[in-house]
Amino acid sequence: MVPDIITARQARWLLIAVCGLLWSASALAFEDDEGCLLCHKYPKMGRVTEEGARRSYYVIPHVFGSTVHRNVPCTDCHSYIEQLPHREVKTGVTCDSECHSIKNPATGKNFSHRPIAKEYMRSTHGRKKQAEGLDADKPYCVTCHRNPVYNPNEEGPPKRIVDRCVICHEDKKFVTNWYKHTSRRIREVKRSSEEIVALCSSCHGNERMIERHLEAAKEEGRELGRKFSIAAESYKKSFHGKVTRYGFQNTPNCLSCHAKQDNYYLSVHFIRPSRDPESPVSTENKVKTCQRCHTYADKNYAALDPHPTDTREDNPFIYYAEIGYNWMAYIVIAMLVGLALVETIGRRRDGVGWRLHHGSTWWRHSRRGRDRVS
C-alpha cells in the first residue's frame, strides 16, 4: 500500500537525500557541459563484455576533477560521440587525437600528444590501440600512463605570487591552477629508477609473455636480442640493479641505456631493439652510451656485459666458475670445521677443558695417564 501522506520520519529522510544531492552536485569539479554525467555518474554504470570481462564506465566526478585532464571536455577525446545516448563504442580513445578545446599556447594549434605518439609508433613497442596477437602484449599509452591525479598536498603558490597575478588575471583559481601546472613541469616529476624498472619488468619479467614471443620468433625465424628473455632478471642481479633496488638514484635504470638522451621525454617513447643501429645499445652506439656515466669508457669497456647472468646457456664460463667457487667453499669450511672437531676431541681426550681455573685448563682426567699434578 502506498501512503498518500508522508510521515515526519520519511520527510526527514527526504530532506537529507535532497541535501545530499545538492552537495554532490556542488562537488563537481569540472564542467559537464555535454551532460555525460547524466549516465556516467552512476557507480553501477558498466557491462560484461563478450569475453566475460567486467567493464566499469563510472566516472567519479571529484576524482576526475583532480586529474591532469580535468579541463579537457569529454568529447575532445571521445570524439566519436555524436548523440546521447551514444552508440556502441568500437575503438575508444586514442591518445594521438586532437583536443579542440585546448590550444597550444605556443603554436595556437589544437593541443595533441601526436608528436609523442608518432615516436612511439616507430618504436619497437609501437602498436595500434586495438591490437591482436603478439602486438596485444606491447604496451599502449595507458599501460604506462594513467590519468594522474594532482597531489592534494602539493603546495599552491605563495601568497605574494597570487597577490601579484590576480591583479591582471583576476581569477585566483586560474592563477593557482596555472602555477601548479607550470611549477610541476619545472620540478622533476619523472618516475624514479625503481618505478621505471618495475614498469619495464611488468612485461619483460613476465615469463608467459616472454615465452609467447620466443616461440613466435622461433617459428617465424625472427631474431631476438640475446638478453630478451632475461632482461629484467639479469638487470636485477647486476650491480646497477642491486643498488637501484635499494633506492639509489644515481645508477642507470632501463631507460638510461635503452633510450636516447637528446630529449629524454621524447626518446623514452622510441625504444629500438639493440640490433637496430638507432638503438643507444647497438654495437655502433654502445661506447657513447657507456660514456654517459663512465666517462673513460672505451670499446673494451663496452664489451662488458651490463646484464650479467650465471646460467649455463647464457654464460657457461661464469656458471662453471660459480660451481667451482661453491665447492671450494664447501670443502674449505668442511675441512676447517672437521679439523676443529678432531682437535677438540683429541685434546679433550688428554685432559683439557673449557674451565680456566687457577691458571690452567688441564684439569680433566687424561686417558693417557698423565694428569696435572694436583
Partner: protein, 319 residues
C-alpha cells in the same frame, strides 16, 4: 728433557743470537735438563695468566689486526646485503647500516683503511726482518713463511689427535694452522682489493686488459668479491673464532690481540720451539720454570738424587 735435534738447533741458534755467556748457558741447559721428557706434563702443570705471560706480537701487529678486524666486519656488513640482495636478511641489514646511500660511503672508506692496513703490515714485515738481519737476529723459521716442517707437524698433530701419538709436534712461533690462516687471509685480501677496484674503476681494468679477457675478468671479479667475502666470513666465524674463543683452553678468549702476550700453557703446547727461545731471552722465565718443576716434583734433575732442601720449593712460591 733430552731435546730433539730440531729443538736443540733452535736453542743453540737462540743462544748464539742472544750472545749468552757461559753462566747463562749453564743456567739454560740446567732448566732444559730439568724439564720432564713428557712435554704434556710441562704445559699441564704451568700456571698461566689468562691475559698472557710471554711476548708474542708487537704493537704494530696488534694495530694491524685491530684495523683488519674492524674494517673486515664492517665491510662484510655493508657489502653482503648488496651482493645477496634477494635474501630475507639483506634489506633489514642494509637499513641497519644506513641504506645504500650511506653504506657505499662506509664501504669504500673502510676499504681504503683496510688497504692502508695491509700496506702498513707489508712495511712492518719488510723493515722488521731487515732490522733483525742487520742485528744478526733474523731466523727464517721464526717467521710465518711455510716450510716442509709444517707438513710434518700437521701429520704428527693429526696422529696425536687420533690418539696414535703421545706428543704434539714441537712447533715454532707460527704453527701450520696460523700459516694457513695468514696466507688465506692475504690471498683473500688481494682478491677483494682487485675485485673491488674492478667495481670502482672498471674503465681502468677494461683499458689495461685485452678485449677478449675484459668481460671474463669483470664477471670473475663480480663473482669473486661476494664469494670471497662470504668464505672469509665463514672461515672467521667457524674457525678463527673457534681457535681464539671457543676451543678448550682458549675459552672465553685469548687476549693476545690486545696484550700481545701468549699464555705460558699455550706457548709450551703449540709453540714449544718459541718457548725455548723465551727461556733464552727471559731469565725470569727460567727461574719461574725451575721453581715450578721443583714444586710439582717434576724436576728431572732432582730425580734419582737424595731429597735436598734446595729443590723443596713450596707451591706458594710458584707465581
Amino acid at each position: 728433557m733430552k731435546l730433539s735435534a730440531e729443538a736443540r738447533d733452535v736453542l743453540e741458534t737462540s743462544m748464539r743470537i742472544n750472545k749468552v755467556d757461559d753462566r747463562q748457558r749453564t743456567e739454560i741447559e740446567n732448566v732444559v735438563a730439568a724439564m720432564p721428557d713428557d712435554r704434556v706434563l710441562l704445559y699441564k702443570n704451568v700456571v698461566s695468566n689468562p691475559i698472557g705471560d710471554l711476548p708474542r706480537y708487537s704493537i704494530h701487529i696488534r694495530i694491524q689486526h685491530m684495523l683488519t678486524f674492524v674494517t673486515f666486519l664492517t665491510l662484510a656488513f655493508t657489502g653482503l646485503p648488496i651482493a645477496f640482495f634477494d635474501h630475507f636478511w639483506a634489506t633489514p641489514l642494509n637499513t641497519l647500516v644506513g641504506g645504500v646511500d650511506v653504506s657505499r660511503i662506509i664501504h669504500r672508506t673502510l676499504a681504503s683503511v683496510m688497504i692502508l692496513s695491509m700496506l702498513y703490515h707489508m712495511v712492518t714485515i719488510t723493515l722488521g726482518p731487515i732490522q733483525q738481519a742487520m742485528q744478526g737476529r733474523f731466523e727464517l723459521r721464526r717467521t710465518i713463511i711455510p716450510t716442509f716442517k709444517d707438513i710434518r707437524d700437521f701429520k704428527q698433530d693429526m696422529l696425536y689427535f687420533a690418539g696414535r701419538h703421545m706428543q704434539r709436534p714441537e712447533m715454532d712461533k707460527f704453527m701450520y694452522k696460523q700459516k694457513i690462516h695468514y696466507f688465506a687471509a692475504a690471498f683473500g685480501n688481494i682478491v677483494m682489493i682487485v675485485s673491488g677496484s674492478s667495481f670502482l674503476f672498471p674503465e681502468f681494468w677494461a683499458a689495461v686488459l685485452p678485449v677478449s679477457i675484459v668481460p671474463h675478468f669483470q664477471e670473475m671479479m663480480r663473482l669473486s668479491h661476494p664469494h670471497e667475502a662470504l668464505l672469509a666470513l665463514l672461515v672467521i666465524a667457524f674457525w678463527h673464532w673457534y681457535n681464539v674463543h671457543l676451543a678448550p683452553g682458549r675459552f672465553p678468549m685469548q687476549w693476545t690481540f690486545l696484550t700481545g702476550k701468549i699464555t705460558r700453557e699455550h706457548q709450551i703446547e703449540e709453540h714449544f720451539l718459541e718457548y725455548l727461545r723465551n727461556l733464552v731471552e727471559l731469565p725470569e722465565e727460567r727461574a719461574y720454570l725451575l721453581d715450578l718443576l721443583a714444586a710439582r716434583e717434576l724436576d728431572e734433575n732432582a730425580k734419582g738424587m737424595p731429597e735436598s732442601p734446595a729443590v723443596a720449593v713450596t707451591e706458594g712460591s710458584v707465581p
